[in-house]
């Protein structure tokens, strides 16, 4: 990430200056605090709210209920993850993602990787196989109902904001499958090289 971050910034600055966008760049840089503030406030308050809601759901047994429903899927995808707590968090994260509740997914996702890190007996700076699989699934976006997209279309007066719904569902499922296959291939190659 160090490399990616430095390269993005360095490249962008040089590119922007060469193409004569100095004023835009300086505007953008000066606006970083404001932009961060807006993002952080929305994100933290939303995640705190959902984290609170999730705690109540945990207490009344909804979390266990959902986790049990999705469990078989994870037995297939992450056969080595047996820890009850981690599986619960993973399930909650995926369930929230499915319904397009990105902000609700973040707290349980963070707890899931935290738990996986506690279980990690090897190098703590290196991702475990379970973390990689879980996050690849997250980057593929398991969103079956893209709530925010539909809200934008509904807000602009769409006749039927969900008319395209089947396409993102197909695309996201293919994206997940592709991610999981790529993950499995890279993992196998990684172990073949190291053992």
């Amino acid at each position: 990430m160090n490399k990616i971050w430095l390269i993005i910034i360095c490249f962008s600055l040089i590119y922007g200056l060469i193409t004569g966008r100095g004023d835009e760049l300086s505007n953008v840089i000066l606006n970083i605090p404001k932009e961060s503030f807006n993002l952080l406030i929305t994100m933290i308050t939303a995640a705190c709210f959902w984290s609170g809601m999730m705690k109540v759901m945990e207490e009344v047994g909804i979390v266990d209920f959902i986790a049990k429903k999705i469990r078989p899927l994870f037995k297939l995808i992450m056969p080595n993850l047996k820890d009850e707590k981690a599986l619960n968090y993973v399930s909650m994260n995926i369930a929230a993602n499915i319904f397009g509740l990105g902000y609700a997914a973040t707290p349980s996702g963070l707890k899931a990787v935290k738990r996986m890190q506690e279980l990690n007996e090897g190098d703590k700076t290196e991702a475990t196989d379970e973390m990689v699989t879980f996050l690849v699934l997250n980057t593929a976006g398991v969103t079956l109902i893209p709530t925010s997209v539909m809200a934008i279309r509904a807000g602009l007066g769409s006749v039927n904001p969900a008319d395209m719904l089947i396409f993102p569902i197909i695309a996201t499922l293919m994206s997940c499958v592709a991610g999981l296959i790529a993950d499995a291939i890279f993992r196998r190659r990684h172990y073949a090289k190291h053992h």
């Binding site: 922007g16 109540v56 593929a140 709530t147 602009l156």
Partner: protein, 175 residues
């Protein structure tokens, strides 16, 4: 039908939670506060990552690089002039959710919410998630610096999801 379900799912979820809390005599309010506190402490750890991400993405956007690539592709592909508006949105998708969402918003605003571009954009938005953001947020929260192959696999997933989204839109909505 599906849109109705997805719009009422949140209130229903909250309602079921509250009813169960009353039925099972759970101290809902106390638990809620506890959960919020949990959320706060989780975010204390990812705060620096978020600022770093905002910085990189803002500068990248300000440099105009991505819109220039869009222009180049427009000339190279010689496609229907409007469709190229989707290119910056696609390029931003794995890097910044809010940047690509705001492009999507303006596309729908300019062309109407039921236009080909807005529908295709919606399909692309829903087909994948912000890979770079997800990975840096989660990994930094637990101090993992070696990501292994997760970035490669994530980007492959993005590519497949977006391609299939575009292909499906072209087949079923047409230009």
């Amino acid at each position: 039908m599906l849109s109705t379900i997805s719009f009422i799912i949140v209130p229903i979820l909250v309602l079921v939670t509250i009813i169960l809390a009353i039925k099972k005599k759970v101290k809902g309010y106390d638990k809620f506060l506890l959960g919020v506190q949990d959320g706060m402490s989780l975010f204390k750890e990812v705060f620096p990552t978020l600022i770093a991400m905002v910085t990189a993405v803002a500068i990248l956007r300000g440099s105009g690089f991505i819109s220039d690539v869009g222009e180049l592709l427009k000339e190279a592909l010689d496609v229907n002039g409007e469709a190229v508006e989707l290119v910056p949105m696609i390029l931003f998708r794995p890097i910044s959710g809010s940047a690509s969402m705001s492009i999507f918003n303006s596309i729908c605003l300019n062309h109407g919410p039921d236009s080909f571009l807005c529908r295709t954009g919606a399909t692309i938005q829903g087909s994948t998630d912000t890979t770079l953001y997800v990975l840096s947020l989660y990994f930094s929260s637990i101090g993992v610096t070696k990501w292994k192959h997760s970035l490669k696999a994530g980007l492959i997933a993005d590519f497949v999801g977006i391609s299939i989204g575009v292909i499906l839109s072209i087949i079923f909505f047409g230009f």
